[in-house]
């Protein structure tokens, strides 16, 4: 390829696409290279048995921010937030809780909890709003600040001190860095409710409700809720990817599929382009990687080209996946004891208590899978008939905790795990087993192989405090630019981290433009 491009984006995951679209709209000539045959990364479409459709690892998620929809004209390219859904906290005896954004109902629920819940959500959404400046901008440096950094910190300080007000600020400072277990115990009595909230806080990270830092992951998740209620993204999630692709291409970006990048070319400390696995060489002014920071720096670039201490810190980035995905193809509508057909459209959660989650977590510390895992279930076909043949259904289940490094290896233990989970689902849905046509289990190891996320971690790196903000993915590369000149990061491994927010891609693009690196 002789024609020169300005920017190469490695990986057409949603962050890569967002970044490419923003750059293209700024008049930069962008080529986006995707190793798979379809764009979308972890939310790319996938099918089992040819006729049962899923959207990769994407599950239920929050809408994209208004600003991004406006900037990238996503709505005009066919993006629409999916149908809003509630969460059903499943109970073994059929006494389920229905948990909405700001109301909770269900039999056996105490009045105090019913009243406390909206208050709780209100307060934590206020905290999240206060943190907005931090999430919407590149993480500020704490020394040698630029004006922008000072502005971010200033806004943050203002929001926390004056926005929240004295008492609320004290509460924020108290809870900001601690575990969700203690906080929920202070507020609620109902185990089912506490379990359901805690499950959301820990899902995707190698932490239990008792691990300090789980309030932060909860606030990080609530960032999405500022854009709108939780919605079932399956089906529509494809819409998001398509919208992003169209938006990027409309702005002049090229997306190449089946183009697997083997390495990033660096000459005297400057990224000059990439080499594909088929030997093809592409040159560009800048290279932006949507790939895992660890993969980008230690594999695509290679430790020899990095400063020794920096390379050492790269090797210290923690992020070992603990969530497996189970796809079930069903020949009919599963019945759940105590749930109406309509309620099956909601997200179903198996996390009866915080102790239950903590116990499930204990196993993965020792390389075992949970005997009694936390399950996060959706049935996308309830909202979108196109996903399965008539009368048939698809069910998608997130399973926590399932370790990347399983004692004794994964080879002959995949089936037992799947069977255990299906059996456990059977406790809530008696007829599920009889409907089962086919199933597919994606362990963290499969996720690593198929989605090229190191150790199969959703967020390209643990969302613990010491790997967040100006320390994400690691300090020295936290502002999306790396020690390798002209090489940038834009993946979930960067601030503000994973989840289908597109924020890392957006912040990275803005950083690149601010530096004028691609011009």
């Amino acid at each position: 390829m002789t024609e020169r491009t300005d920017a190469i984006v490695i990986g057409a995951g949603h962050n890569g696409l967002v970044c490419a679209a923003y750059l293209a709209r700024a008049g930069i000539k962008v080529v986006c290279l995707e190793a798979a045959e379809a764009a979308g990364g972890m939310s790319a479409p996938r099918a089992i048995g040819g006729k049962y459709h899923f959207s990769g690892l994407a599950h239920a998620a929050y809408p994209i921010s208004r600003a991004m929809r406006r900037d990238l004209k996503l709505d005009q390219f066919g993006y629409a937030a999916g149908p809003a859904i509630d969460t059903v906290a499943l109970d073994a005896d059929g006494r389920h809780l229905i948990i909405g954004t700001n109301r909770v109902s269900g039999d056996g629920l105490e009045e105090t909890d019913r009243e406390a819940y909206p208050e709780f959500k209100k307060q934590y959404l206020a905290f999240t709003r206060a943190l907005r400046p931090l999430f919407d901008n590149k993480p500020p440096r704490l020394k040698n600040m630029q004006v922008a950094d000072t502005m971010t910190l200033g806004k943050l300080g203002w929001n926390v001190r004056l926005g929240l007000g004295r008492e609320s600020m004290y509460e924020f400072l108290r809870v900001a860095a601690i575990n969700i277990y203690d906080v929920l115990d202070e507020l609620f009595a109902d185990e089912r409710l506490k379990g359901a909230i805690a499950a959301d806080a820990v899902m995707g990270s190698a932490m239990g409700p008792r691990s300090p830092g789980t309030i932060l992951t909860w606030l990080q998740r609530l960032q999405g809720e500022l854009n709108g209620p939780l919605s079932l993204q399956s089906g529509d999630r494809l819409q998001l990817v398509q919208a992003l692709v169209r938006s990027a291409e409309d702005a002049g970006a090229t997306i190449r599929h089946n183009a697997h990048v083997a390495r990033i070319l660096v000459d005297n400390g400057k990224a000059s382009g990439v080499e594909l696995s088929n030997g093809e060489v592409l040159n560009a002014r800048i290279v932006v990687s949507n790939a895992d920071a660890r993969a980008t720096l230690s594999t695509l670039v290679g430790a020899p080209l990095l400063d020794a201490m920096f390379a050492n810190r790269v090797s210290q980035i923690r992020g070992s996946g603990v969530v497996a995905k189970l796809h079930l193809a069903l020949s009919g509508m599963p019945k759940f004891t105590g749930l109406s057909e309509k309620q099956l459209g909601h997200r179903l959660l198996v996390a009866p208590s915080m102790k239950y989650i903590e116990r499930a977590f204990n196993h993965c510390k020792y390389g075992e899978y949970s005997e009694q895992p936390v399950l996060d279930i959706v049935i996308p076909s309830m909202h979108n008939d196109a996903l399965a043949p008539d009368g048939h259904h698809v069910m998608s289940v997130n399973i926590a905790y399932v370790p990347y490094d399983l004692e004794g290896g994964w080879e002959n233990q995949k089936q037992p795990v799947a069977d255990k989970v299906i059996a456990q689902l059977g406790q809530y849905s008696p007829n599920l087993k009889s409907l089962l046509v086919e199933h597919e289990l994606l362990t963290p190891r499969d996720i690593e192989e198929q989605y090229r996320a190191v150790q199969g971690h959703w967020h390209h790196g643990e969302l613990s405090i010491h790997q967040s903000f100006m320390m994400r993915p690691l300090h020295g590369a936290a502002q999306y630019d790396t020690p390798i000149e002209k090489l940038f990061l834009c993946g979930a491994g960067c601030h503000p981290g994973g989840g289908l927010t597109g924020l890392p891609g957006r912040n990275a693009a803005r950083r690149i433009l601010e530096l004028g690196a691609a011009k």
Binding site: R141, L142, K143, N144, R161, R166, E167, M169, Y170, E171, L173, R174, V175, A176, A177, I178, D182, E186, M207, R210, S211, P212, G213, Q316, R318, E358, N362, K365, Y366, S464, I465, H466, M470, M471, H475, G476
Partner: protein, 587 residues
């Protein structure tokens, strides 16, 4: 060997930040002269004052209460210390529960106690001597052991025996931890600023903190934040590779907490246990000669030479308040004692929920006191031995028996011990910190006999169905069995054992739920959040009421800093000259 021998000027070393203070400290009289004066004024007061009116009453004769009282007395106040037990000391106590043996019933080693306080109160002259500990070690299940020796060359050799890489990493590790220690030590004797206030004083204090942090390089700054928020296991894995070495060095960061080695935030607890010193060796630990009770005895003696009174068997029932002011205390016996100032050395929960009337307290405060995290997680065994137990895995006459001895050689075992605690069980395979101080200190046991102290992590506040004496003894048996695995003749040597669970710690020392730090050392309860946001400057909700226990900044450990900081705030409010050392002395 006198502790912190060396030029006394060092203790008053002035800091460049505060030239005015320098002037003050340099003109400050030597402790001797200072003591004469206060003794005289104290006597004067004595002659006039009525028997049960005091300037200040301190509730609880723990080390912080006594430190606080001593500084107040030194500043010329008439101070009374009230203790519910027939003996003083709180958690720095030595009792003879078996004839001829002096146990250190609670705290058992000394390191964190601030040298500035030691010098300012002249504790050396009042009999406090700290003997440095020379080693720590961990037994391995396979019959080998890892020893961390006092002599750096021997230590390096031992590290190399287990892992060449770790021997080099240890140099980096020591340097890094020392850096954070020296940074933190500067904040220990300062009152934390209140983020909720706009008073110039708090603004200045924040400016001081910022300035201190600004002295770090940018990447050091990030490393510091990481260090504070990391799990200890992960932090150590950045340095070491050998399982035993990892387990050995993570031990210190779970002691006293309700966290495991994989819980974020435990790296800080390591620091909390490493920031002390003995004779200026940062991170070194030592024995107080005569047991930990010697700390309390020295403080009491210093306090009394400044004219202070101590009353034991005097349990306080309530802090008397009229209007928005304290008027004194009411004893369980019904006796009233009046005072302008009342200081509580009890933990925040006890102070506000037990000693004060909820109706006069702000609702928010009561709520915070209820939410205050103070779960106990530790137990303790004190054992009288008929002789020195043998440890076959150690070479003949190894100095390692002189120091800390541990039996947990993998991170996995440490974390499993924590999992038990989460389920309200005591650890089936606990983490033990075992010492035999009588090897140094003949005053603790009869000739040829020995006294052993074993700190045990984890032990639940309430096991299933609550504590009974049977359960307590089963818990003790678990620990004794673990030790016996490494010392065959140990069981036969036991003459008497005191077994202490959180229940005993609460009943005897009044530590709520048996938490040795009077409140967990988690982010939500440190600095300006300790004990509660808005009350971190030692002042209570009513005028004249103060807190000086480990529930306040900088927290637990036999440090004396909370007591000294509280005294400074009290004297400030009473417009008395500051008798406390604020400047921090470091080499």
């Amino acid at each position: 060997m006198p502790r912190f021998a060396g030029n006394p000027a060092k203790a008053f070393s002035a800091s460049p930040e505060k030239p005015d203070y320098r002037a003050y400290t340099l003109n400050r009289p030597r402790p001797k002269a200072c003591y004469k004066v206060t003794w005289f004024t104290a006597n004067n007061k004595e002659s006039q004052a009525s028997m049960n009116h005091y300037d200040a009453i301190v509730i609880g004769a723990g080390h912080n209460g006594l430190t606080n009282a001593a500084f107040l007395a030194k500043a010329g106040l008439r101070v009374l210390v009230l203790e519910k037990n027939p003996y003083i000391g709180g958690a720095t106590v030595s009792r003879e529960l078996h004839h001829g043996w002096q146990y250190s019933n609670c705290s058992y080693v000394c390191s964190l106690f601030r040298p500035e306080i030691y010098n300012a109160l002249d504790l050396g002259r009042h009999g406090l001597k700290v003997i440095p500990l020379v080693s720590s070690m961990t037994f391995k299940q396979d019959g080998d052991y890892f020893g961390s020796y006092y002599n750096p060359n021997v230590r390096r050799r031992e590290l190399m025996r287990h892992s060449l890489r770790d021997a080099d990493a240890a140099i980096r590790f020591d340097a890094d931890v020392l850096r954070w220690c020296r940074l933190i030590r500067g904040f220990l004797l300062r009152t934390p600023p209140d983020p909720g206030s706009f008073r110039p004083r708090d603004a200045f204090e924040f400016a001081y903190l910022l300035k201190k942090f600004h002295e770090l390089s940018e990447s050091q700054l990030y490393e510091f934040i990481r260090f504070f928020t990391m799990p200890i296991a992960e932090y150590l894995e950045n340095y070491f590779e050998n399982e035993t070495i990892l387990a050995h060095y993570s031990g210190g960061s779970i002691i006293g907490t309700g966290l495991g080695v994989y819980s974020p935030g435990t790296a800080y607890v390591l620091l909390h246990h490493a920031m002390g010193d003995v004779d200026g060796n940062i991170g070194a630990w030592g024995f107080a000669r005569g047991g930990m009770g010697a700390v309390a005895r020295a403080l009491a003696s210093s306090f009394q030479t400044h004219g202070g009174d101590i009353r034991t068997d005097a349990e306080v029932a309530q802090i008397a308040v009229s209007g928005n002011r304290v008027t004194g205390v009411e004893l369980a016996s019904g006796e009233q004692i009046s005072a302008k100032v009342v200081i509580s050395n009890l933990d925040a929960k006890r102070t506000f929920i037990k000693l004060m009337d909820e109706n006069i307290l702000p609702a928010k405060l009561v709520e915070r006191a209820r939410k205050f995290k103070i779960r106990g997680s530790s137990g303790k065994l004190n054992i009288a031995l008929d002789g020195m137990p043998s440890f076959p895995s150690l070479p003949e006459g190894s100095p390692l028996t002189l120091g800390h001895m541990h039996f947990t050689d993998t991170l996995r075992r440490l974390e499993k011990a924590y999992d038990d605690w989460k389920e309200d069980r005591w650890s089936a395979d606990p983490y033990c910190d075992m010492l035999i101080p009588s090897q140094y200190d003949p005053s603790l046991a009869p000739p040829g006999k020995h006294m052993m102290t074993v700190f045990v992590q984890y032990c639940p506040v309430q096991p299933e169905g609550g504590w009974t004496d049977e359960k307590r003894d089963q818990f003790g048996q678990t620990v004794i069995d673990q030790i016996a695995d490494y010392s065959p003749d140990f069981k036969d040597l036991i003459l008497h054992a005191e077994i202490r669970t959180p229940r005993e710690l609460e009943l005897e020392e009044g530590l709520t739920e048996g938490n040795i730090f009077q409140g967990e050392l988690t982010f939500d309860q440190l600095m300006f959040n300790r004990p509660f946001p808005g009350y971190a400057q030692y002042r209570g909700p009513v005028r004249g009421m103060y807190m000086c226990g480990s529930s306040t900044h900088p927290g637990g450990g036999v440090m004396g800093a909370p007591g000294a900081n509280a005294a400074r705030e009290i004297l400030r409010d009473l417009r008395k000259p500051d008798s406390t050392p604020q400047e921090f002395s470091d080499d």
